[in-house]
Amino acid sequence: MTTLLRIAGLGLALVVALLFAVFVGDQGPWYFAWVVGTVMIVLISGAGAILFDAQTDNTQEGEV
């Protein structure tokens, strides 16, 4: 039952997000671009930091 409710909740959120995306994408394409772009900038710069950790061999003396 809880799983079902959770799925229903997620489904509702999805529908709302879709409607929002369609409306804002139609009326205000740049607003839509801002939402998508900001998420992208945050995630890519975060990925850059994680990549840094992967590049580092755990010695404090290595080049940065």
């Binding site: 900001t38 080049e63 940065v64």
Partner: protein, 531 residues
């Protein structure tokens, strides 16, 4: 009708420009740094590495110092419309007040409430919950910017409101058109990502400072990496949106785009050069020492190779009939306000779209009353009013150029920084690191020039083609203005001194720990910065 003392108008403009530019020294950093903090904290929550929490704490400290001044100086802005621009607020407040109020209700409340939890709630919230709070602060501060820019765009492109002769003001008629005003959209994204650029360069510059001194290397290198990537994408976005805004001005504010490009005469596509540098002379209405790149202007502004851009001389000529029609409109409006005759209303409505130009002619009318202009004087008044439709070309032209040059410089510096950081070769180029460090204040300059371009270019109007600036101010005496101007100058100077002192102090002090605490052991790295 007696006009406001011109020096009071100038002082009011000066005070507003001073307080707005000062406010805007802190805002971009808030807009960008909140999302950078959110990015850092995301990495912390995902990887669980203490060093990313240290990054959030340290950059958060600098954010806090800056945030306080942003909030404080923002208060001034909200009240200054009422204290210094009474006529403007009454004339346009029905529409203009709404986005400002929504800003308070929707964005500023959210930002201010959660910022307390963001600073104080580390030990009281789970990591994901705290991360959510950080995102809410970031979203709140940017939504603040959204509503302010919606309001600002409505001054530049008054959409969603019409003039009502019964109430003598602009009446609000479409919320959707105000919010989705294309100018507002482009302005918001342009300003928000300009904030990202500012914050990126601050983080990058201070990190470069540590790398140069070989201090906090792991901390600084990670911060640098994130900032460089954040910055390069944002710079691309800022330039793209700048281009969109330019086209918006071309469509809606021909006087602004002509002044920005120093275009005295209508352009001759496709050869017309883009002027890189020149000395525009407002009084003589021509430019000296023009240096241009041919074939660039037309595609840059119009995104085509054949459309001409109207020059300022031609715009003046086109304004002539509108000024004449506007004078008829204002005279009819004044009669209507006294007698309420249907025929006056009909005359007014026929000329309504030119009303603003009639107000603009007030300064040159006998006794500052356009209804007293005789047929013999009409030609003279129109001729005198024509040059008034142009903004100050020198200021608009150069602030625009400086902004553009700086943004190109940011593009280069972030590209190099991202490349070197990804290659992990930063420390081999100390000169470049120094350059990053010294570039910290430049984005602030660029954003200020952006404001000057947008607002100086809007002149002579507060509400474009509806209400001239000289009519918008409150009717204060010069003494009142000197009192407030002196107070603001004094107070703001103290603030900036205290802010810079604290910023330098904490930047020199550096982060408290560099991730040496193992997050698995759960030893919190809380120590005392402020004893």
């Amino acid at each position: 009708m007696d006009l406001i003392n011109p020096s009071v108008v100038d002082l009011s403009r000066f005070q507003f420009a001073l307080t707005a530019l000062y406010h805007f020294m802190f805002v971009p950093l808030t807009l960008g740094l909140t999302f950078m903090l959110a990015a850092m904290e995301t990495v912390y929550v995902v990887t669980g590495k203490q060093i990313y929490k240290d990054m959030v704490l340290f950059w958060g400290k600098l954010f806090g110092i800056n945030f306080a001044l942003g909030v404080a100086t923002g208060l001034t802005m909200e009240f200054e419309f009422g204290t210094n621009w009474s006529m403007y607020s009454r004339f346009f407040g029905d529409m203009f007040g709404t986005p400002l109020a929504i800003e308070g209700l929707m964005a500023f409340f959210m930002e201010s409430t959660f910022v307390g939890i963001m600073f104080f709630g580390w030990d009281r919230l789970s990591r994901p919950a705290h991360l959510a709070v950080t995102y809410l602060v970031a979203l709140g501060s940017n939504l603040s910017a959204l509503w302010i820019l919606v309001a600002n765009a409505s001054m530049n492109v008054p959409d969603g409101a019409h003039f009502d002769p019964e109430t003598m003001r602009m009446t609000f008629d479409s919320f959707i058109r105000v919010v989705f005003n294309p100018d507002a959209q482009a302005k918001f994204v342009h300003t928000s990502v300009a904030g990202y650029v500012t914050a990126s360069l601050l983080v990058m510059g201070i990190s470069a400072f540590y790398l140069l001194r070989h201090e906090h290397r792991q901390f600084a290198a990670r911060s640098f990496r994130m900032a460089a990537i954040f910055g390069i994408i944002s710079t691309v976005a800022v330039i793209t949106l700048g281009d969109v805004l330019g086209r918006m001005d071309y469509e809606h504010q021909p006087t602004k785009i002509a002044a920005m490009e120093g275009l005295w005469h209508t352009s001759k596509p496709p050869y017309e050069p883009w002027i890189v540098a020149a000395l525009p002379d407002d009084a003589k209405q021509e430019s000296y020492f023009e240096i241009g790149v041919p074939y660039v202007l037309t595609p840059l502004v119009t995104h085509s190779f054949s459309t001409p851009i109207t020059g300022m001389h031609e715009l003046e000529e086109q304004a002539g009939p509108r000024i004449e029609s506007g004078i008829t409109a204002v005279a009819a409006l004044k009669r209507y306000s006294e007698t309420h005759m249907a025929e006056d209303l009909a005359i007014f409505q026929a000329h309504e779209k030119d009303m603003g130009y009639g107000f603009l002619a007030t300064r040159h009318a006998p006794n500052q009353d356009v209804s007293a202009i005789t047929d013999e004087e009409l030609h003279n008044v129109v001729e005198q009013t024509k040059p008034d439709i142009l903004p100050n070309v020198f200021v608009t032209f150069w602030s625009f150029r400086l902004m553009v040059f700086l943004s190109l410089y940011f593009f280069v510096i972030f590209a190099v920084a991202a490349y070197l950081s990804l290659k992990k070769q930063l420390e081999r180029f100390p000169l470049f690191l120094k350059l990053c460090m010294w570039s910290i204040p430049l984005p602030v300059l660029a954003t200020e020039f952006g404001w000057i371009t947008a607002e100086a270019g809007r002149q002579p109007w507060t509400v474009f083609e509806r209400l001239p600036t000289f009519m918008s101010a409150s009717t204060h005496g010069v003494g009142y203005m000197l009192f407030s101007l002196g107070g603001f100058t004094l107070l703001y100077s103290i603030f900036i001194a205290a802010e810079l002192y604290l910023m330098f102090k904490f930047a020199r002090l550096g982060p408290e720990s560099h991730g040496e605490h193992d997050p698995e052991n759960g030893t919190p790295s809380l120590s005392v910065i402020a004893h």
